[in-house]
């Protein structure tokens, strides 16, 4: 079999699948192979193209899987990758070549399929801004840096997750726990209050007393507008799905 015929063979396979879906294709929707979709964000004609990785059924309804696999170019933000690259930590995103070392190394992925760093980076590179920012999974990174240390391309994946979170926050998509943390920092200069009760417990063990000095921390928070940022007005689905943990169990994220 020549290289060409092998390729044809592969395309024919794809056609079988695509062919059945094409029955339902309407109007000017154009089906493109997945690999082409990667190039589309940089394509100047992208405004008039609608790229489908899957096409709706004749009745117009889409299955959940199809909903996930549909990419409309009009929904993509070709500048999303630049925006991430402009954030501290996000600089290296363009170097990703999708080897998947990150996902293979990820301890969150090992227990929760929803989280897949390679997929997040791919989505970000494709310009799927809305999907990435409103997803619950960007908040699931545990910041363990296993992926970042192993990435053969030097992509700072944990940094990218941080960059994406910072962008989400500015879009007012903030997990609920941050408001409490900022409020506590403002009032006490620390994440947990050290009041009389805590100091009594400390004294029993012979530990020195702690007097809170929140002034400078509060002024920094005022300077950066952290309190306003933490408010948000849209809650990522993570918080709707997960019951809020007791406040003393929340640690925070990076």
């Amino acid at each position: 079999m020549t290289k060409g015929s092998r390729q044809n063979g592969r395309m024919a396979e794809g056609d079988e699948d695509g062919g059945s879906r094409q029955n339902g294709r309407r109007g000017r929707q154009v089906g493109v192979p997945c690999c082409l979709a990667a190039l589309l964000p940089c394509c100047p004609a992208s405004k008039i193209l609608i790229a489908y990785l899957g096409v709706p059924k004749p009745d117009g309804k889409m299955t959940d899987t199809e909903k996930l696999s549909v990419l409309r170019l009009e929904d993509l933000d070709p500048n999303f990758r630049q925006k991430i690259a402009a954030e501290p930590g996000g600089e290296m995103i363009r170097f990703c070549f999708q080897c998947g070392t990150c996902t293979a190394s990820c301890p969150v992925r090992a227990v929760e399929d929803k989280f897949n760093p390679r997929r997040i980076i791919r989505m970000a590179l494709l310009g799927m801004r809305a999907e990435v920012l409103t997803s619950s999974f960007v908040w699931l990174c545990s910041s363990c840096y296993a992926c970042q240390e192993r990435c053969p391309q030097g992509v700072k994946i944990t940094g990218i997750m941080g960059a994406i979170r910072n962008i989400a926050v500015r879009d007012r998509l903030v997990p609920a726990m941050f408001a409490g943390q900022v409020a506590s920092l403002k009032a006490h200069g620390r994440v947990y209050e050290v009041g009389e009760l805590e100091n009594e417990k400390r004294a029993k063990l012979g530990l020195p007393q702690i007097n809170e000095m929140p002034d400078e921390v509060r002024r920094i928070l005022e300077m950066t507008g952290a309190e306003e940022l933490a408010k948000g007005n849209q809650t990522p689905e993570a918080n709707q799905a997960a019951a809020p943990p007791p406040p003393q169990e929340s640690i925070g994220g990076a």
Binding site: L140, S143, K156, F178, L185, L207, E216, G252, A254
Partner: protein, 294 residues
Amino acid sequence: MGEYAYFAGCTMPVRNLNYDVSMRKVAQALDINLLDIPEFGCCGYPLGALDYHTMLLLSARNLCVAEEKGIREIVTGCTGCAGTLSKVNKALKENPQKRKKVNEELSKLGHEFRGRTRVRHFARMLYDDVGPQKIRAAVKKPLSGLNIAAHYGCHYLKPTEAFENPENPERPVTLDRLIEATGANALDYGAKLLCCGGDVLGIDETTALKMAREKFRRLKETPADAMVLICPFCAVMYDAGQKTIEVKLQEKFTLPVLYYPQLLGLALGIDDKALGLHLNRTRVKDLVEKIKKL
């Protein structure tokens, strides 16, 4: 020995008093002077995900506070604080633009970052400045026959770019050597580098607990008598977490979990109550009795 600014952080002084007290006792026994700095506040880590710049300023402020007191060394028992303060310290030392911007804002608080301090984790300081040999010499009750599983905690090792002298994050040795210095056997086990999941706890508790459970499952296959850790958040997941895992995931584990300074303290002959061992959430009584009989 040396003098170090003691950065207690937010969590440890409130929720992990056993860690706080054991670190101080061990330091005292090894002639290490830990200075409490009342002006220290949050290291910045919790707000990194919210706004990088806020994290940077909060963190840098602490470094300035230490610098202004003429202190050259900061140590902390929290890997989150150690990682964040190291990362910011190094970034500001190496990046003049970033430093200028930070200093412009910190000048409003009367601070200036000059890059004159070094930040290390307490365990790394023990390893570097005291060293396993001296610790071994100070041990009064060698913990021979005990199998101890070291849990390093992610931010003790990574990102390597945050540290001035990082160790290999895939094959770390410092905590194992420190455990061996007590006379115990440091276990080589496959799940050593697993993340505790603590960072996910505030977002998705089930995922976090599943991550912690993974380590216990793997440790069940080993002859571990106890797990030793050096981070208050890892302790939330592995010490307090065992009960939560039992309640929420219906899987029971009964592995004693200690902080390294508690283990070392026992080997140095310090009373277990003074090391706060009665505050550990896992059952450590049998282990302590076993050690007493050694």
